[in-house]
């Protein structure tokens, strides 16, 4: 690798191996042999070419904020970091798009296009550090996807180096229309079809007006009913988020904020667009909440208020460090109308397994993020967390939902996902993998077990963990 890319772009050694052994899904670790830092598509191609020559797996990695182990080098080999591909190559305000390298941080794209009154809509909670390459590979969401859609709706074209070290381009700057669209596969492929190096992103106009309200409820049930009711009244808020009392108590401790006493849950509702539209939508949403028994409504009069109202949502997970030393955040989706039943289940399963659980999630999308908090030093706790997580995912499938709304399958959910597939469904998925990952070296053992060794590996890990 040093011969191909130069000393400066290759790192190895114990410290590097430890740092790159996992992403934010830290339960499972595998040390890579080295990490390379190409600066562009060509250098990425050289690195992949070398991996193929010496038959070593390669795995692309952005900021490592992924929550399902998608960039863990399960079979060792080379981590291809995109961190030095950090240039915004072009901003085209007329055609409302921008060309960026894969390692550019989401927030930096937004900073660069803001002067043109434009924004890149996907806003995962990690947006101040996560990269565009990661967003594309994970098809990232965020609080505002309820109205604006996920990353798939905001990528026009991607350049990638495939598993044969060929540079391929998927998509077009002119969106929509006829023809098979290979970009649909690339977005959300979790780095298994190639290494994305550059992309044209779609930009949307920033809203003229943003109206934000934080609404308190004395029961979980009334808050959840309000979620369904808001949408039933024909309003699609830009964001509709829910936080339960456990999140609030953590945030109160961490930031000294006060929330209405006796609140079991808060809904954060944001409506945006043209002034009149945003105002009338937030009014309808608040009315819907009051009809469902809301006990307190606070609205933002200015940007500072708005930021304060968002504190619990934006910083809630971080604040949970106050509740216990270890937190595992889960991710599942259910049809919105089944939220009451699902939340009851989550609280019950936590109690059954003697775990703490806090819920902070995208209620409008029916996308749950139960956070189990615990002390992993207590013997048997990790096993109980895994059992509770699995029960939650099984329940999502039982209620007609999905095992992941944002975090991806990665390593974490291969088993729980494949359980929900028929043999034909799985064949549809493997057809894609086999068509594009010809060398079998591209991020092996993710999404679907694509090699004999993956099954062995799963057995080993499952055995160790349970």
């Amino acid at each position: 690798m040093r011969g191909v890319l130069g000393n400066d772009q290759v790192r190895d050694g114990t410290a590097v191996e430890r740092v790159y052994a996992c992403d934010s899904y830290s339960i499972e670790r595998h040390e890579p042999e080295c990490v390379v830092f190409p600066r562009n598509t060509y250098e990425t191609q050289l690195a992949v070419q070398r991996c193929i020559e010496i038959d070593v797996p390669f795995t692309a990695r952005g900021a490592g904020t992924g929550l399902s182990g998608g960039v863990t080098a399960v079979k060792g080999g080379v981590i291809v970091s995109t961190k030095r591909m950090n240039q915004i190559l072009e901003v085209d305000p007329v055609n409302r798009c921008t060309l960026v390298q894969a390692g550019v941080v989401n927030q930096k794209v937004n900073n660069a296009v803001k002067p043109f009154g434009l924004m890149f809509a996907p806003d995962p909670s990690s947006q101040t550090v996560c990269t565009i390459g990661g967003n594309i590979n994970e098809n990232s969401g965020g609080p505002h996807t309820l109205k604006y859609g996920v990353t798939a709706d905001h990528v026009l074209q991607a350049t990638l180096v495939d598993s044969r070290a060929q540079v391929i381009v998927a998509g077009s700057r002119v969106s929509g229309g006829p023809g098979i669209d290979p970009l649909s596969l690339v977005v959300g492929s979790e780095g298994t079809l190639g290494i994305v190096t550059e992309a044209w992103l779609r930009l949307v106009p920033m809203p003229e007006r943003i109206e934000t309200a934080l609404i308190a409820f004395s029961t979980i049930r009334s808050a959840v009913d309000a979620v369904v009711e808001v949408m039933a009244r024909g309003v699609i808020p830009a964001a509709l988020e829910m936080m339960d009392k456990h999140v609030l108590s953590a945030v109160e401790k961490a930031f000294g904020l006060d929330y209405p006493k006796g609140s079991e849950a808060l809904l954060l509702i944001e409506c945006d667009g043209r002034s009149q539209q945003a105002e009338s939508e937030i009014r309808s949403a608040i009315e819907a909440c009051l009809d469902c028994g809301a006990t307190n409504v606070e609205t933002a009069g200015n940007e500072e208020d708005r930021k304060r109202l968002w504190t619990a949502r934006k910083k809630g997970i971080g604040a949970m460090g106050r509740l216990a030393p270890t937190i595992v955040t889960h991710d599942g989706v259910i049809p919105r109308s089944r939220l009451p039943e699902m939340l009851e289940f989550v609280y019950a399963i936590a109690e059954e397994n003697s775990l703490g659980v806090a819920n902070i999630f995208h209620a409008g999308d029916g996308n749950l993020h139960p956070c189990f908090y615990f002390d992993e030093r207590e013997p048997g706790t990790v096993e109980r967390v895994l059992a509770a997580g699995e029960a939650v995912l099984d329940k999502c499938v039982e209620l007609g939902g999905s095992v992941t709304g944002e975090h991806g399958i990665g390593l974490e959910k291969i088993d729980s996902w494949s359980k929900s597939l028929s043999a034909n469904d799985l064949r549809l998925q493997t057809t894609v993998r086999e068509a594009f990952d010809v060398s079998g070296l591209c991020n092996p053992c993710k999404v679907i077990p694509n090699q004999k060794g993956c099954v062995e590996h799963r057995r080993r890990w499952s055995g160790a963990a349970t």
């Binding site: 709706d153 049809p335 109308s337 992941t404 028929s422 034909n424 086999e434």
Partner: protein, 245 residues
Amino acid sequence: MRRVVGSGSKAAFCKHSNLEAHRPKNTSLHCAPRDQIVTAGAAVTIAEIQECLARCGQCLPIRLDLGQPLGGFPGTVGGLVATNMPHALSSQYGSPKEWVLHMEVLFQGEQAQSGAKVVKSVAGYDVHKLFVGSWGVLGPINTVTFRTYPLNVLSQGEAVTLRDLQGGEVWILRTLASELDQALNKAQGVYAFDRPSCTIWSEMRPEEPSEGWIIGPAGYRWSNRADKGMQIQIKRAFDPEGEWE
């Protein structure tokens, strides 16, 4: 070889063919307004799905009141998805590809599913989205689950209709915003145009854009589309026997 045929609403855009026709028959329709989704068989008409959704205050963002071109030449659900046609609300609500959440398709002779019947899911490859806009070449669609929208979106849109179709040919062009004015100046016999989505419907064949696509009587054609190789790879992987045209 076989060809998937729906109600024939877009027949004017297909080459004449003597191939055996495969006609999807699934007319099941299930609206779940509280979950903001609807699941429909490929043979359900767009008019039927809109009528069913309207009763619960919802819709798909397709305007049937503005005439055929701006309604995307509405026929059946299968046709809507397979052709991914432009329409009057494209700029605000995207193309059908953005509303599709789950599909059941015929894959090498067997029914297979991809996606999830919820408004958000990132489980696995979005294989179903390959069928959207495929014009049937990967095989037939059996059912589609869409996300739905509030009924009031049907009063939106900035598309302009200049004249009615009167039996003439129809050509559709989409290009970059930076090239739209030039394309509009050169277009002849314009039926309608939609500035926000950079789409023009005309009677005469438009000049090929430097970037974008044209749909016309003989099918569609992209200019400078870079992913042709990947498209061919997908077609080969999904239909190795070349069963579907």
